[in-house]
């Protein structure tokens, strides 16, 4: 057992959702790191599917800039089209899980990656959807990864729904025309792990990292956070696990990724 920071636990916990042999959709940013950690630790035989049309089959020693970075080429088993990956294997339901970055996610699992403040005159304008809205629409089980630990990362309601989660909760997602077998599965964050109430679809605290302070977690999200009847205590990482997570973050940093807690 080692010292670790919650951000590292977030990456590791996400990695553990991936089973060996899975084919999964990997969104930009932390999902890429999580899939690399999984591949090294316990899931070498996974297919990582990217919106750019590539499908990665083996471990790439270099951190790609994005999932479309051609540095991945020697590790692609498939180099096709967005029409085949995002609008094909994902949309037709052939991928069991998907992972997406969730810098701002609300209590119904809606993600905003478009703007802070009013859409017409934003305080901060962000990138926008890319494939994020499609991931929200078509992912069979969508895991949302957040490195955030404060209320602005977990508002009660996002300013703009880039990635549709459960919208206004209850059956609102179904009424809006989304398939019943799709939707958010979990928010894995630096605060802890959230699941969604089967009826209200509100996110509740389901799992906590070692040494977590539940009251502090509750104070760090923008709604009155409920918790599971019995909170799941996520196990302390092994030395090997933390080593691999840190190596992958080092590799990301060497490719100019900004890593929380590092200069």
């Amino acid at each position: 057992m080692e010292n670790f920071i919650p951000f590292e636990m977030m990456i590791l916990t996400a990695a553990k959702q991936i089973q060996n042999g899975d084919a999964l959709f990997v969104g930009f940013h932390w999902p890429m790191v999580a899939s690399r950690v999984a591949r090294r630790l316990h899931a070498p035989d996974i297919y990582c599917v990217y919106e750019g049309g590539g499908i990665e089959r083996t471990y790439c020693p270099v951190m790609p800039n994005t999932g479309a970075d051609l540095i991945l080429s020697p590790h692609l088993a498939f180099a096709g089209e967005t029409y085949e990956t995002l609008c094909g294997f994902l949309a037709a339901g052939h991928l069991l899980i998907s992972m997406i970055d969730a810098p701002m996610v609300d209590r119904f699992g809606n993600i905003n990656s478009t703007c802070i403040g009013p859409y017409q005159c934003p305080k901060v304008r962000l990138a926008g959807s890319g494939g994020a809205a499609d991931l929200g629409a078509n992912s069979r089980k969508l895991f949302m990864l957040s490195d955030r630990t404060t209320k602005d990362g977990f508002p009660a309601r996002v300013d703009y729904v880039t990635t549709p989660g459960y919208l206004d909760g209850y059956d609102s997602r179904i009424r809006a025309g989304f398939r019943p077998d799709t939707g958010p599965e979990m928010i894995i964050s630096s605060l802890g792990v959230f699941k969604f109430d089967p009826v209200s679809k509100e996110a509740y605290l389901w799992g906590v990292y070692p040494n977590a302070d539940v009251e502090k977690i509750k104070a760090s999200v923008g709604w009155e956070l409920k918790e599971a009847d019995k909170l799941t205590a996520l196990s302390t990482p092994t030395a090997e696990e933390i080593k691999v997570v840190r190596e992958e973050l080092d590799i990301a940093k060497s490719r100019l990724w900004k890593i929380p807690g590092r200069q």
Binding site: F28, H29, Y50, E51, G52, G53, G54, C60, P61, V62, N65, T66, A68, D69, L70, I71, S73, P74, L76, A79, G80, E81, T82, Y83, L86, C87, A91, T114, Y119, C121, P122, K123, V124, R125, L126, A127, G128, S129, G130, G131, A133, D134, G136, A137, N138, Y160, V161, T162, P164, D168, S172, R173, A176, G177, F178, R179, S254, R255, L256, K258
Partner: protein, 307 residues
Amino acid sequence: MSKVVTMKEAIAEYIKDGQSILISAFSINQGYAFAHEIIRQKKKNLTLIRSSGDILADQMIGAGCVGKVISPYVWNPTGPSSAYCFRRAMEKGIPHKVELEEFSFGAFCMAIYAAAHGLPFMPTYPLEGTGIFQHRSILGEDKVRVIESPFSGEKVCLVKPLIPEVCLVHVQRADAEGNAQMWGPLGDVRGTANAGKRIIVSAEEIVDQAIILKEPYKTIVPGFRVAAVVHEPWGAHPSDVFEHYYRDIWFQAGYAEASKTVEGFQKFMDEWVYGVENRAEYLKKLGTKKQEELRWRGQDNGKFHSL
């Protein structure tokens, strides 16, 4: 019949102020040489259509060439960082206001598919409840329409064909007649290269037609669709081209840093766009050492680890 012209000639002849233009390819094979010549020729009020806005869109917005943008997102993937010119335009109207119509990448692909395939519309994946559905600008009601499926009664979102006046696409190689070959992951390029009324190709290499005929499965645009061909080695730098060169993330990071301010952006553009006559001069400025570093190394990419 040879359609080979210089980039200067191609842009002067085929790109008019106020047109809708699409610069093809998702993240890779970005037509920077096209964009920079458009900027040098001070084209105005273009509608820029792109699957991934990226730094290329940021530069065209910052340079004041663009009145409207239709795209799923605009950013700088290295870091990642903001696309600062885009931000300034959206947050503060600098250098001027830009009208933005946002799609999901999937809906964008479907609108392009309808255009390339002569279909009256395309269904797309559910969008109700998203900001993309709620906020409409250039396309208004026609951005996304909802019908009940006549098969199941379920709600279905439809998008109409998105047909640019000119599509610009950078590929690995082409013959003089315009048969254009690209291979590797293609993103949306098969759709976006072919969606427009007119197509201009730039290529890393101009090759004999015999080379094209040997591997016809690499052709993504047949010659008869192409109006002009430009020979433009490294035409996609700082993005990457399969089996030619890797992405220059250091250049992208440098751009992020420079473009944080209007002055920094101006300086960058003076240096890399206005200050060079054409792509050959840009390349000279980039230097042979950098080119060597970025050059494709087949199945061996390990070297980058230490960079």
